[in-house]
């Protein structure tokens, strides 16, 4: 019998050489006449260990990592096919503290199953949520989601059940489910990992949403930077169709639902829901004024649910196990689990799914192991390019929407980018303005013109020109952008800028903040 070996097909693993490792394993196995079967799984999320190779032994799966092509010969010599000792041996992945400490609901299967295998998905609880949804019917599905307390994971944290109810109640000859998989924030990759590692979960979540609101068509809009995710999604859609889980009369029921993947073209603003809808329609990705809400007039002017990947992939669990069980996790009004992404200058970067409420410092220092450079941590940008820089003296902040908002910070899509002491804060503030000017959709002046003025002001401040006056103008400009922008691109760019300035004023040539040592 052949020995089964798992080598991730996750983009992160591939970018770290997984395809070369596969070729080397095949060559070495052939030379030794050892029959092996290689499965390309998703990633478990211990990304510093990628490519992480797992061998199925009588004791369970034994992991080795990070494996490079050049390590493969040595692994065979060490008897890794039987789980033999080697410097790269991790042991059982599920016993690794990074995984053992997590509460995995959305990511329960990611990295374990073959993402293209329908039977793997079903064997690990897949489609249990849909089965119950079909038994409950639309109104009860929405009630279950309401009980769960699920809030949108795309950034704004809007209650998912309310959105669904609005679309369910809206009149329309056609309704849509649109999955926002644009994931443009630096430091985020959870959507990508799910699409690559457990795509059926997204299909199931969208199907349940379709049944709940009466939509028959779904679109996954994702970025052109994600070719591997697109391929994995398309493959899974094909397989689901072949199993009667997409198309007419899903799973033999009276409901019909089908879906497609669409690709953006390198515009960050297309992650904003209304710009995304315009882009899907084949227009420039400009932000629409609200009202009308997408729930009333969305894609092609039809009632539309637009949700992030992580919101939709939470749904199968909520339906399968009940909304109350999901709501038992978390704190305050942030219920359930959040797949948190730890990235940047960090030692143990990866995907950490846990209940809301965990302190930021624990994520960065204990779980993330501090910086990769070994230098002290200086700050972390949380929530992508529109998120604030959080300094170390605020690291006791619990991961919770309201707690972050109270400190002028945001959780966003759950990405944490760690910076060490060499980070140049004025440069990061300038970058935030520059990014806004490059990505602005151009609809409103504070964002379109203000961000360019912001870059110029930062250039002067960094050159030491009339610093006090220019900082006053910068603060004023940020206020205008916050109040006068139509969407969060212009409206939130002030957060990284002002947090950098307020927490590290001396780097901008301003007097140091008094409570810096608190």
């Amino acid at each position: 019998m052949s020995i089964r070996i798992y080598v991730p097909k996750d983009a992160c693993a591939i970018a770290c050489g997984a395809d070369d490792v596969v070729a080397a394993i095949q060559a070495a196995a052939l030379a030794r006449r050892e029959p092996v079967e290689i499965v390309r799984n998703g990633s478990r999320g211990m990304l510093w260990l990628e490519p992480m190779v797992e061998v199925v032994t009588p004791e369970g799966r034994i992991a080795y990592g990070p494996v490079e092509e050049a390590d493969v010969e040595g692994l065979f010599e060490a008897g890794f096919l039987a789980g033999g000792a080697h410097a790269l041996r991790i042991g059982k992945p599920e016993e690794h503290p990074f995984l053992a400490k997590q509460t995995r609901l959305t990511f329960a299967r990611c990295g374990i199953i073959d993402p293209a295998s329908y039977s793997d998905y079903v064997a690990m609880g897949g489609y249990k949520g849909l089965e119950r949804a079909l038994a409950l019917g639309p109104a009860e599905i929405i009630e279950e989601v309401k009980k769960s307390g699920l809030r949108g994971r795309g950034g704004a944290g809007f209650p998912t059940a309310i959105k669904w109810k609005t679309v369910a109640d809206a009149q329309g000859d056609r309704k849509y489910i649109v999955c926002n998989a644009d994931e443009g924030d630096s430091g985020t990759f959870a959507d990508r990992m799910i699409m690559e590692g457990d795509p059926f979960e997204l299909i199931e979540g969208m199907t349940i949403a379709g049944i709940a609101v009466g939509a028959t068509k779904g679109y996954v809009y994702t970025r052109s930077e994600y070719p591997h995710a697109i391929a994995a999604m398309e493959k899974a859609i094909e397989v689901a169709r072949a199993h009667g889980m997409l198309g007419v009369n899903i799973a033999g029921s009276a409901y019909s639902f089908d879906m497609e993947v669409r690709m953006g073209a390198g515009a960050y603003v297309c992650g904003e829901e209304t710009a995304l809808l315009d882009s899907l329609e084949g227009k420039r990705g400009t932000v629409r004024a609200k009202p009308p809400l997408p729930a009333h007039k969305g894609l092609f002017q039809k009632p539309t649910v637009i949700n992030n990947v992580l919101s939709l992939t939470a749904v199968p669990h909520i339906l399968a196990d009940g909304g109350e069980k999901y709501a038992n996790f978390g704190m305050g009004r942030s219920r359930g689990t959040m797949p948190i992404q730890i990235a940047g200058n960090v030692r143990y970067g990866g995907l950490f799914e846990t209940a809301f409420g965990i302190p930021l410092g624990e994520l960065i220092n204990d779980i993330g192991g501090g910086t990769a450079s070994g230098k002290p941590v200086k700050a972390a940008q949380v929530g992508g390019p529109l998120g604030a820089y959080v300094p170390t003296w605020q690291f006791d902040l619990p991961f919770d929407y309201e707690a972050f908002a109270a400190k002028d910070a945001l959780i966003g899509h759950g990405g944490i980018v760690v910076f060490d002491e060499t980070a140049d804060m004025p440069k990061m503030a300038r970058f935030a303005m520059e990014f806004c000017s490059v990505e602005s959709c151009g609809k409103c002046t504070p964002c379109r013109i203000g961000s360019t003025r912001g870059v110029e002001l930062m250039d002067r401040i960094m050159a030491g020109e009339r610093v006090e006056a220019n900082l006053a103008t910068l603060t004023d400009l940020c206020q205008t952008m916050k109040l006068g922008s139509l969407c969060a691109l212009g409206g939130f760019t002030p957060y990284p800028v002002l947090s950098a300035l307020n927490h590290f004023p001396e780097e901008f040539g301003a007097p140091p903040r008094l409570e810096a040592a608190e």
Binding site: C12, I14, A15, E225, M263, G282, K283, G349, V417, V418
Partner: protein, 157 residues
Amino acid sequence: MPHYEPWSEERARTVIAEFAHLEGPLMPMLHAIQETFGHVPDAIVPMLAEHLNISRAEVHGVVTFYHDFRHEPAGRHVLKICRAEACQAAGGDALAEHAEHKLGCKLGETTADGRVTVEPIYCLGLCATAPSAMLDGKIVARLNERRLDTLIAEAQS
């Protein structure tokens, strides 16, 4: 190395026809045109306008809005270096400068011999193994000067 076809109106028509059945077909059509010809030629604009029954200005507006669509063919190889925050935190600035120095051109430009176009990209979703880059669609993470030199040599070959 990617292989592109020379412009042909007839070929363009078949590419467009492939997506005619979709709802909101313009973006998929533009992607397919660029994949076929290496860029979005001006000549396609009136064809798309006629096909979709919208104005040329509207098509032009869409083509120019998105960073991905090229007006001109790129160099033979395209090296995209991630310039977003996580990659900056992991030493990406020095690598971008190194690439500019080695290639003798700035990000957003093509080398004088037309071999390599080097561009910034804002996040590849590889932020936990930053810094990252992409060479003609091949993704590379844990970039350092040595790995970058290998990529550049590959691009220049």
